[in-house]
């Protein structure tokens, strides 16, 4: 008998099942494991906890984290405390979505297949692209995916990254590039944004150029000029974008980008200490057969009724094996579903308003905080300030006042130790910004 954990095997079951199999014990079933590699003792792991004790234990761990309900936070740098609508929670807890596997059997999975088709449509609309996959792991790995596509499309091996592309995204690209036979070149920023002429020089012979809009400093890049500089050099222009900005800012497809990628967390996902979230990857039609991961397509059933299936599967690992466009199988469908629901909830007006409110709050912070801005550039929802003492120390001191004032850029950018990146979402209020200004004044004076 075993009723440990989530088991419910009775003595009667066990006897009947062993009898049907024709063995005397469970040990007999494990005889095929050679004696030399059988594990001969109990696992040395912490004791089992019944549900109430388990919840208490996890509550104790959770209480030791300074989450954004305990601390007034202005942290961003790729992950943002945007509002997640209640209906996103509602459907993520529906077992039909939550507990389904990848929709290999379409007749059992029309719900999630149609939802992914709707998600792909939304991503294409926001980015101005023709095709989106069903999601990538996160905003960093989709950049590596874009490199793999560009390597095979152009036959070139150079990756050009703007230094103002999120540092973690650049680190992941550098980890993947050697396996692809690619080398990475970075273009330094010039006063907070990327100089199109410098980018044009670097883009010579490159497979692709990846820049970020709004960039990692919160500044708005001259994105159309950067895309043109890349394209003129024969490199694929790729924009790493924030979905939350795309009600307000132009779609990368409308200024000449070949692909648009990014981290979807800001639309529909909680911060969750960095994951799970969804990465998105959208491209022009010509790249459709090089896309990694799942893609859902429309079709008809044998009665002519509309339905949806996983399509173009000859790209994928389970069919093409070593010739596949990627090794990807598990993706981030449930998180992408939250993104779709949130986009439906916002609608085109709401998405624009979201962008306006965040930009307006950032402008208010610029005005209220008594520190010089680090970069005189147009901004979206993040503003970088110069601090008279190291920004790390500002963070430590401000946290003693219950305010997390933002991200010290010196952690990733040598020479910017005195720059603090402050992020504003619609969940912060003008009063919150006043409080930030007050605390920053106190800890920097």
């Amino acid at each position: 008998m075993s009723t440990a954990g989530y088991l419910s095997l009775t003595d009667a079951d066990l006897a009947a099942m062993l009898d049907a199999i024709g063995v005397d014990s469970i040990d007999d079933l494990f005889e095929q494991i050679p004696e030399g590699v059988r594990f001969g003792r109990a696992l040395d792991v912490p004791e089992a906890l019944p549900e109430a004790a388990l919840v208490r234990h996890l509550e104790e761990l959770a209480e030791r984290n300074a989450d954004t309900s305990r601390e007034l936070s202005f942290l961003g740098m790729g992950i943002y405390d945007h509002y997640v609508p209640a209906i996103a929670d509602t459907f993520l807890s529906r077992g039909e979505f939550l507990t389904a596997y990848t929709p290999y059997q379409p007749e059992m999975s029309q719900g999630v297949l149609q939802a992914i088709f709707e998600y792909q449509t939304a991503i294409c609309e926001l980015t101005g692209m023709d095709v989106s996959n069903a999601s990538g792991y996160d905003g960093a790995t989709v950049a590596a995916d874009a490199c793999f596509i560009a390597r095979h499309h152009t036959g070139r091996t150079k990756v050009v990254l703007a230094e103002t592309l999120n540092p973690q995204v650049r680190q992941v690209v550098k980890t993947y590039a050697p396996g692809f036979g690619m080398e990475v070149v970075e273009v330094p920023h010039d006063g907070g944004t990327t100089d199109p002429a410098a980018l044009a020089d670097a883009a010579h012979d490159a497979a692709l150029v990846i820049f970020q809009q709004p960039n990692a400093f919160g500044c708005l890049e001259p994105a159309p000029e950067l895309a043109a500089a890349a394209a003129n050099a024969g490199a694929l222009p790729v924009a790493h974008v924030d979905l939350a900005s795309l009600g307000l800012l132009e779609a990368p497809g409308n200024y000449g980008c070949a692909m648009a990628i990014g981290e979807g967390q800001s639309i529909g996902n909680y911060q969750s200490y960095g994951g799970p979230h969804y990465g998105f990857l959208a491209a022009r039609t010509e790249f459709i057969r090089r896309m990694p991961g799942r893609i859902v397509g429309e079709t008809t059933d044998l009665e002519g009724k509309r339905g949806f299936v996983l399509t173009l599967q000859t790209r994928e690992q389970h069919i093409r094996r070593e010739k596949a466009t990627s090794n990807m199988t598990t993706n981030q469908t449930l998180l992408a579903l939250a993104g779709l629901i949130t986009l439906c909830w916002l609608g085109p007006e709401g998405l624009r308003e979201l962008g306006e409110t965040c930009t307006a709050l950032a402008a208010y912070a610029k005005e209220r905080v008594g520190l010089p801005v680090a970069f005189e550039r147009p901004h979206f929802k993040e503003i970088a300030f110069r601090t008279p003492i190291p920004a790390r120390d500002v963070v430590a001191r401000a946290r003693e006042h219950g305010v997390h004032p933002g991200y010290p850029l010196g952690r990733d950018y040598p020479g910017l130790d005195d720059v603090l990146l402050v992020a504003l979402t619609e969940k912060r209020t003008p009063a919150d910004v006043d409080r930030l200004a007050e605390v920053l004044a106190e800890v920097t004076s």
Binding site: V37, F39, G181, P276, T299, W345
Partner: protein
Amino acid sequence: MELIYEKSQPGRRAGRVPSYDLPVPKIPAELLREAPPRLPEVPENEIVRHFTALADRNFGIDTGFYPLGSCTMKYNPRVNERVVGLPGFRDLHPLQEDEGAQGALELMWELQQILAEVAGLPAVTLQPAAGSQGELTGLMLMRAAFADRGEPGRNVIITADTAHGTNPASVTMAGFELEKVATTDRGNLDLDDLRAKVDDRTAGLMLTNPSTLGLFDEGIQQVAEIFHSRGALLYYDGANLNAVVGRSRPGDMGFDIVHYNLHKTFSQPHGGGGPGGGPVAVRAEIEPFLPAPSVVRDGDAFRLDHDRPKSIGRVRGFAGPFGVFVRSYAFMRAYGPALQDMSEVAVLNANYLLAQLRDVYDLPYDRLCMHEFVLSARSMKREHGVTALDVAKRLMDHDIHPPTIYFPLVVAEALMIEPTETETKERLDEFVDAMRSIAAEAASEPETLKAAPLTRPVRRLDEVKAAKEPVVRHAFDTPRAVDRIEAG
């Protein structure tokens, strides 16, 4: 049913965003959006009805039995959803100072300890987002280890002919060459074939054990010897770990690098395709190359260690899919050392089904199985023209999710069945009845099977058409707002 876009009416809306009456700064015109995205304009009530209807057209473990081989579709405990929603986890920013994330870091460190004990290997990275990313990470670790050892010429990875497609695809992405090894009639790796293929160009082996046939490789010790004696490494694809937890450990089998699928063995719900989690464990010699940052303990405090000079680098943003860690950790703590019972019942359930079905379907490898087994419909196809696909579609009419079909590739008309440990004998018996009744139908009325499913929201779908003329986004039949403005 209609797409959400087809329910859209201009001017309708659901959510409202605060404005705070602040002036919006001017953004350069060339950066501003010219035409609004055609997102649906639908009230909240209708959004809820839409996604409720979609949920009704989807089948999860919560709906019914889901014996999808190699996917380990076990019950996903709801307490895990409760704890992952605690604000201290859910609303924690990943760039919070370590001192403000001690609970999260402790949870990750504890999870690493349990995973290390399960694999029998000392060092763990939690960073990879899925099993396939774990594979890629493992191959990068091999490359780094050989470069460090001064053997950069080791460029060949050997995989089994029964391997998941991710293995050869990962080999390509990591820049290695692929070599395949055959499987014997008993379902073990062919040792003679292996001996002939392993040499000083071999970087390593990627193997699932038990294999995708659901069989434990009886020669695993000799396999490890062949690779290790020639200086190569062994990678364990943990897709089938649910068979052996507490019964046999990959590290003890001789594997040097192991990935886990937290969404299989440790019950992270798979969400219709993801998320997952693919932590990797390694021997001490390979630890210096693990991705940065890693989670380390200093006395009573925990921190992210970014200072790892020999690391392969970062494979994903931040420290990994944390919400997945919370669920899997909670799952492990609900069992404690009885995680062993989990694997035992998984193996018992699979063997029970095998015993009840072996006389009506072909059994290509006549052995006791581990946590899953592979049947074949080849006799049925020869005698009645009924294929594995037809069997799968007909199971849907019994409200059962089909098994994995046409995999592994070494078995014709394969039906790969994995019941998992959380199904009761009554559920297993229902499945047996359904499979036996389908076998009877194959002989008596094969046309019914060919027409199945008959009870789902759609009939069989034309996948060839979908691939031939790909329609991968909605084609709006109304002009975009900007076009409307220009036209009128």
